[in-house]
Symmetry: C3
């Protein structure tokens, strides 16, 4: 009998670990999604550079989070709810005896599977930054910032919420990271964009606003589909457990709601764009799908599928309005719309928790939004400013004109397709 | 002991639900596959439009199937085997007590995971339509049709077979949807293409047939690989259960047979093309792989892997013959070959069930083919005709010449790569 | 009680089978990764041909391995440790009674799921070859070689190690195939490249070395991300079991180490390229990530994540040195760097086993490297030579100049994007 009980417990542990790893692999795949999305939305002369940025930022995120980020974010018990301290390296995994004999508090999945799931989230946050600063930032300046964001800035606020710090204790709710991940990435991007300035030719001296179309929309669409798929892991894995009826139902609900919110966002953004511009703007549909996904990320479990569709649809409308306003009114140059998709809509997602989760309060949500924004903006601004002072963050005008591919990477993304250049 | 039994039952439920969700995510990924396949096979000037169509048709399918399609297709007990009635919205999920104490008839996976798996199938059927009507249909006319197909036409025939209606009772067999999904999509496409007519310049007044090459074959190849991968979910998930030895073996057999049929189809189509045209035509190899997949979809479980390879290979030969015949003999303009791949080969798949499944009869298979074809063709034709009368289904000659990207979407898919245009 | 024990055993069997199938699907996805990587790194005029090669080589691998390869590699008991004999076709799957009542030696996953997992590995090995011989080899000559490699050459050495033959008995360790898969593919490629010669224009008569840039770096980057994702299946599935605490922890460790090695490889290759060439060369970063993955494949379980990062980083440095040396010093023309990534770094991976696995000996690793290299090189050389004598392996100078797409496939990959051609 004891053997049978141990067998079942171990099987559940294995199922939850496997689920965690598969969901984590889906999230890792989002790195490809951001790469394709951003590569499709910039001009061909800056494409190789943004690809380089994406594959290396993912790598930096993995290394930094392994070296210190994970320990900051999940420091264990007995630390201050504000300052978790810094420790290095990864520990070992759970012993069989602890799993089988640990009772209610026994670990139910592999610690390393948790690290894997968490590390791909950091990379997601950093990926958000790369699109917003595209086409004019120095490559190595970006990497320098990536080291600090993924090793310190992100893990600190991650600790405050998911690690059990003061935001968690204050009742702030963020199921899968509309704030901890998406708004964080967007806020860091905003700080960078402010210091960096707009691309040459984006805003005329006469106040004109010039559209700079992306070079490869099939890539951008592929990136969006990849992100949509990856988001099943992002939200679905954030339930952390699947191995009984209640948990399995919860994961299924999250899958359905994630999918419905994206669908609602895509449709609504297309309709808004159709009425506003007179055209069915593909890039708005893509951003609408992503906005739907960001909208539902703070609470994908408690809404009904119909409400999830609506939450996503509102996100889809919001993202069109935000992208146009950022561009035309505030003249904030964000080539891929990342600050709108992940920042503005991330805030909407955090507020929308109150629509379906009875544990949520508007005040706690606003408190969390304020804290994360302030922390990430201030620290990011300081780091960007230091990097700017030390090595500069903007490429030369000549390099910007010629394209970052040749200047930074020494090659072209499409050497045969742009003969007129 | 009772606790142990409950634990095991719950673990099985969780495993089956997780399996369902992962398989469903694979099928969702097929939406990206169709997008890339179609975007690669049309001309660059119509690429953004077909991408818009694909992401929005998927979204529409999700919303319509949630609102009414799922209830039509799976209406519960006590309804007519012809008319399931219409109901709205999704219900709740299974209670623990029902799962653990339900005996033989207890639910063994989450209802919402079933919805997720089913909804991505509807989207697949609709994706098939978009390729066939490419490069000349009005975007919003297409969306209007998508609403009806995914909300009503598809679920009705789905009910007749998978929901337990009269086709199921008549002994018609269609394991994963060669008929219910693929032939349905192709038939709806055929009705649209007949009303729509061929692209300008496709068929000369002198009877000449002009090839219109696709603009981006790497995308088309990527799309095919995505579909191949997604098909493991499509067929593998259709077993509906994995949690004991017999079911696990069945799912493994389905994976192997699905893979082998695709391989057989790709090789055979390439060989046929090589002998027919003298060249190893990539697009035929891609269509051959897809034809192999469609061929095995009606019965991926009972054939041996060798027979599955053969069934796929016949599908691969058939698709080359069908594509050429449709084009040259019948002058049906199907830019991506969707009617041949999913329709003609879908019928082959349904007939091939008789080769390995002793429960299949040729008469029941023919009956099912006839009913689905008649239902989908007639209803689709009526809907397309209404849409045509109300808003028109074909873009202007000028827009067709300039490209649907600019006309419908107000942007270009590859603004920097087509300077000669 | 007996029923409960049977239920648990069956659930474990189902979980392990499902895990195997999902991991196998990830590896199948690597076929798309190699296709995109290679399609991105060749010139546009040879792109459709390399896509055709990739989809058909995967198909050939599946058919040949089903027909004979699997039986050669896993012949069952009582055969010579050198010559397993040849048998045809796949057998049936495990009976419930054997699984439940088999005790310690009972099968714990579906035999067909094992076939599925193994068959996608053969395809990987063959994919490695296609990149190295790109842009000048006859398509059907390549397919003829593929038949022999996947049906005989690969399975023989696979038997010697994974099938329990003399390499396994000699203590040679290769967890997931740095040698059995990657070095095998690279060695077969080397033999082909030697017989084939360099591309026209690659090496001048004056000793000059000309860079021939790839036409589509976003595709190459996508391919790299696909391979990275697929590698979680490649290494993670090679644990073969997940269904208890120890195994689940092991699979999690493998996921983490696989990811870290890739990250280490990408960063290090970029840094080496930056110091060597003065530029952040994207293609080197991509090759660095792949080199990191190959490095850890021989032993992804026993290193700590920090050591795995280091092993990958050394692989990343090595691949840059190797690619430059192969090109400039040895004048071996390998358009995608496959021989360096999979061969040179594969050897590094096999040696690196000694860094963390106490069961490894340098002599056994060197013995394994020598045997696999000798076997694959000699047999491949003979087969390539026979194919050369019978049908020729190199296209005409004119076809090479015009591009293999038109010559072999009768179409162009990007008919609208290369007007200047």
């Amino acid at each position: 009998m004891e053997q049978l009980a141990s067998d079942i417990t171990q099987t559940k542990y294995a199922l939850d670990t496997f689920y965690f790893l598969v969901m984590g692999a889906f999230v890792m795949w989002m790195a490809a999604g951001f790469s394709m999305l951003e590569a499709g939305l910039v001009r061909s002369k800056n494409t190789a550079e943004i690809l380089t940025k994406n594959i290396i930022l993912y790598s930096i995120a993995c290394v930094m989070y392994m070296l210190m980020g994970y320990n900051i974010m999940y420091p264990g018990d007995g630390v201050s709810s504000f300052w978790p301290g810094i420790a290095f390296g990864l520990g070992g995994d759970n012993a069989v005896a602890d799993v089988v004999g640990g009772g209610e508090d026994a670990p139910y999945y592999s610690t390393l599977s948790d690290f894997f799931f968490q590390v791909v989230f950091v990379a997601t946050a950093m990926s958000i930054v790369s699109g917003a600063v595209a086409e004019r930032m120095k490559l190595w300046a970006f990497f320098a910032f990536a080291v600090v964001l993924t090793g310190f800035i992100y893990p600190m606020q991650g600790y405050w919420k998911w690690g059990g710090g003061f935001l968690d204790q204050a009742g702030f709710l963020d199921f899968a990271g509309s704030g901890v991940v998406h708004m964080t990435g967007a806020t860091a991007a905003l700080a960078g964009v402010i210091l960096l300035g707009a691309r040459k030719g984006k805003y005329g001296k006469d106040g004109s606003v010039n559209a700079i179309p992306g070079a490869n929309l099939p890539l951008a669409t592929l990136g969006t589909f990849i992100l949509w798929l990856g988001w099943f892991g992002f939200n679905g894995g954030s339930e952390l457990k699947v191995s009984d009826v209640g948990e399995a139902n919860a994961v299924a609900m999250i899958f359905v709601n994630t999918n419905m919110a994206a669908a609602g966002g895509a449709i609504m953004a297309l309709i808004v764009a159709r009425f506003w511009f007179g055209k069915a703007d593909l890039t708005m549909a893509l951003n609408g799908a992503l906005a739907g996904l960001v909208s539902i990320t703070a609470e994908p479990l408690t809404p009904s599928p119909e409400l999830a569709t609506l939450i996503g649809a509102i996100g889809g409308a919001l993202v069109v309005i935000s992208i146009i306003t950022m561009d035309k009114t505030f003249k904030i140059d964000d080539p891929v719309g990342a600050i709108s998709v992940h920042g503005v809509v991330g805030i909407w997602g955090l507020l929308a928790v109150c629509l379906s989760n009875p544990d949520a309060t508007l005040s706690a949500q606003l408190f969390g939004i304020g804290v994360i924004f302030a922390w990430v903006f201030i620290t990011s601004f300081i780091v960007w400013a230091i990097v700017k002072a030390v090595m500069g963050i903007r490429v030369s005008e000549e390099e910007e004109y010629e394209g970052l591919d040749v200047g930074e990477c020494g090659l072209e993304a499409y050497p045969e397709f742009t003969p007129g250049k």
